[in-house]
């Protein structure tokens, strides 16, 4: 069978389509975005009416996927790691309700924070929720695991978490598809119509059920094709590798033969018997895992014996950041390799707002408006406009999580910092800003909210913005006074006019919303090219 050259993300999407997916739900977030886009661009998905429209945020995505699972069909929900924080409530509770149709939750972690504000490890969430976790080491395994994950999910009626990292998500390799495409499930109600009703007396039963199944999950892990114990003659040290770390280990052995016993983990809960086997056979254990020291901490605790465990916690590997073959080489006691040093003259080339970007004009106007006041009044959010923190703009003072601009500005205003300004993008506003705006309105907080409306979810590559064409109606509906919703065009030629409007609204002792509206320059470029292509 011919190999397809696929990104890890694309392998997951292809597998889901081949495994009888009926709907995928997601909010864009690097490095998970391409999973959903692959389904959106699939002719097969269109022909078979597979849902793939973007959700407003990860919580709505998770809940919709759970609803599809309730109805007996196979669903997938995808997000970046911090998206799982947003979806945490339905995710944790979906473990208690359980699934009906197969349900896979894909969380894409970002060790080294290539494009994120932290490097949290989603395996903690999986363990917290007591659901099984799959962690592929390569693109082929990612493909195979989706099929396995759906079978598992339907066998135990439980959601399955699939944890990937940036390196796997955005790396291409050959993938062999299964020969047959599975049909979608028929609509089928849960056998117990109270399964999804988490009233305490039902939830308690469901939770006991989950705990009982959890023992079965461990047994499944111990015989899983993705957890493999390979013996080796050198018992001075056993090596546990999780997911993609497996590749960095084998990179260090040219013949791909490791002299030590190796336990490769791709499925959790931990395969306890296999870990015990290694602990019995070896003098010490080295744990190599990308992300947090999840497995390392676990086996230190549950082995309950004096065995030495090495990894990220004792400094054998760095505590933070993405792994690579060299770090693993050093951990194995091998010679490190290094080319020439980087010449001193090499300076950083950070990402920056594109030439012609509307945010540039918005920031210049805002900075001038605030120039007579003390610094540090602008609370911002997650998007391209976060780059406004860098030179030459240095126009914002916070970026924490989706939607935090409005609520932090409100809190600061409550504390007496008046005026306080929130800067948020249109897509981030509908993701998590609307509820905060309602808080501010109910409190008559003296804040000015700038909703930078470029009509798209720009930073992740220009996906549809869920509130497109509805932003001022949403603001009105939530209770912002119509006279304090100001729409302006962020262009250099309107600079003076825009500064004047901002000054007026900053002086207003209540909630005002300014909407600088101009299409993303990259989106225009793409639109024009598509238009040209179709001619």
């Amino acid at each position: 069978m011919q190999k397809l050259l696929l990104l890890g993300d694309e392998a997951i999407a292809q597998a889901a389509l081949d495994a009888g997916l009926s709907g995928i739900y997601a909010y864009p977030g690097t490095p998970s975005t391409e999973i959903t886009e692959f389904v959106q661009n699939s002719k097969f998905a269109h022909e078979n009416h597979i849902h793939s429209k973007w959700s407003t945020n990860e919580k709505t995505a998770m809940e919709s996927a759970l609803g599809m699972s309730y109805a007996g069909k196979r669903a997938m929900v995808c997000m970046k790691h911090v998206g799982l924080n947003v979806a945490a409530d339905p995710f944790i509770n979906s473990a208690i309700t359980g699934a009906n149709g197969g349900l896979i939750v894909v969380a894409a972690d970002d060790p080294s924070m290539h494009s994120s504000q932290n490097e949290q490890d989603s395996r903690f969430f999986g363990k917290f929720a007591l659901v099984p976790i799959l962690e592929p080491s390569d693109q082929q395994e990612a493909y195979d695991m989706v099929h396995y994950g759906y079978e598992f999910s339907e066998k135990y009626k439980v959601p399955v978490l699939m944890r990937i990292t940036t390196r796997l998500a955005h790396s291409r390799s050959g993938v062999i598809r299964k020969p047959e495409v599975r049909k979608q499930n028929e609509l089928k109600m849960p056998s117990d119509l109270r399964q999804f009703v988490l009233l305490p007396n039902i939830a308690r039963k469901r939770y006991k059920n989950l705990l009982k199944d959890h023992s079965a999950f461990i047994v499944e892990s111990e015989s899983s094709p993705f957890n493999k114990y390979t013996d080796g003659p050198d018992k001075s040290m056993g090596i546990i590798v999780c997911g993609i770390a497996n590749n960095y280990l084998f990179e260090n052995f040219a013949d791909r033969v490791v002299p030590n016993p190796v336990l490769k983990i791709g499925q959790y809960p931990m395969p306890r018997a296999l870990v015990e086997r290694m602990a019995d056979a070896c003098d010490e254990i080295l744990v190599i895992e990308d992300g947090y020291p999840v497995v390392e901490e676990l086996i230190k605790g549950y082995l309950g014996r004096g065995l030495k465990v090495k990894g990220r916690l004792d400094g054998t590997l760095p505590r933070d950041g993405e792994l690579n073959p060299n770090l693993v080489a050093v951990a194995l006691g091998k010679q490190d390799t290094y080319g020439l040093p980087v010449p001193d003259l090499v300076v950083g080339r950070p990402p920056s707002l594109c030439s012609g970007c509307p945010h540039i004009d918005s920031y210049y106007a805002l900075s001038e408006t605030l120039s007579q006041l003390s610094n540090g009044r602008v609370f911002s959010d997650i998007g391209c406009y976060t780059l406004g923190a860098l030179k030459p703009y240095e126009a914002i003072n916070s970026c924490v999580d989706m939607g935090a601009s409005i609520t932090m500005a409100k809190g600061a205003a409550d504390a007496g910092l008046v005026p306080a300004v929130a800067v948020i993008g249109d897509s981030t506003f509908t993701h998590s800003g609307m509820t905060g705006l309602l808080d501010a309105i109910n409190d008559k907080s003296p804040i000015t909210i700038m909703i930078l409306d470029n009509g798209t979810t720009a930073m992740t590559g220009g996906q549809d913005s869920p509130g497109f064409g509805k932003i001022e109606e949403i603001c009105k509906g939530l209770g912002v006074e119509e006279s304090h919703i100001r729409i302006l065009k962020p262009l250099k030629k309107y600079h003076e006019e825009n500064v004047a409007i901002m000054k007026e609204e900053l002086a207003y002792q209540g909630v005002s919303v300014i909407i600088p509206r101009r299409e993303c320059i990259v989106a225009i470029d793409k639109r024009m090219r598509d238009k040209f292509k179709n001619k």
Binding site: L5, R167, N247
Partner: protein, 193 residues
């Protein structure tokens, strides 16, 4: 045969096209391939790099270890220096000399050229000028790819075939322009290696 290649440039310069062409040629010869890309925020005018690994044997890591890359192919001179720690002792740097200056503190070009000159094995050419001479200003990345062809360990014709395939939907004219750009880069490298 194995080649570990670092592709470097600035977001939007076309390093992914180079990777696709080499990748296609490698797959056509039954080789294994792993290619790690940069997506997301770093694409907004920041530095971008891609790890491309091709081999007749199965490849373990998606990342090339430091000190083990066979070549650095860069569409921008400053960027060719950023990844020198990856280069092996016998590795080649193939780089454009035309700067992409989108930062206020871009170093002095003479000093950059001086540093490139210190790399034991290197090919440096103004790919933008060469591309223009061959008839397509957009093909600077293909000129650089051409300059890398003597070091790829595969027949030149396989790369030509890959260009024909990758640009198949763009018409014969575009294919010809790119083949010319490839040839110009290759000629330069063969003269200066």
């Amino acid at each position: 045969m194995k080649k570990d290649i670092i592709l470097a440039g600035v977001g939007g310069q076309g390093i992914i096209s180079i990777a696709s062409i080499i990748g296609y040629a490698a797959l056509e010869q039954g080789m294994f391939l792993k290619q790690s890309e940069v997506h997301g925020m770093s694409q907004r005018g920041g530095d971008v790099m891609s790890n491309l690994r091709i081999s007749h044997n199965e490849i373990a890591s998606d990342l090339i270890p430091f000190g083990q890359a066979d070549m650095i192919i860069s569409i921008e001179p400053l960027e060719s220096l950023r990844y020198l720690p990856y280069l092996s002792g016998h590795g080649w740097v193939i780089t454009n000399t035309r700067p992409f200056n989108n930062i206020p503190n871009y170093p002095d070009m003479n000093e950059i050229m001086n540093e490139i000159g210190k790399v034991p094995h290197h090919i440096a050419l103004d790919a933008d000028a060469t591309a223009k001479e061959t008839g397509s200003v957009k093909a600077a990345n293909i000129v650089i790819l051409g300059a890398a062809t003597p070091f790829l360990g595969m027949d030149y014709g396989k790369i030509e075939d890959a260009i024909r395939f990758i640009f198949r939907k763009k018409g014969d004219k575009i294919i010809e322009l790119n083949l010319n750009a490839l040839k110009a880069g290759s000629d330069f490298a063969n003269k200066h290696m």
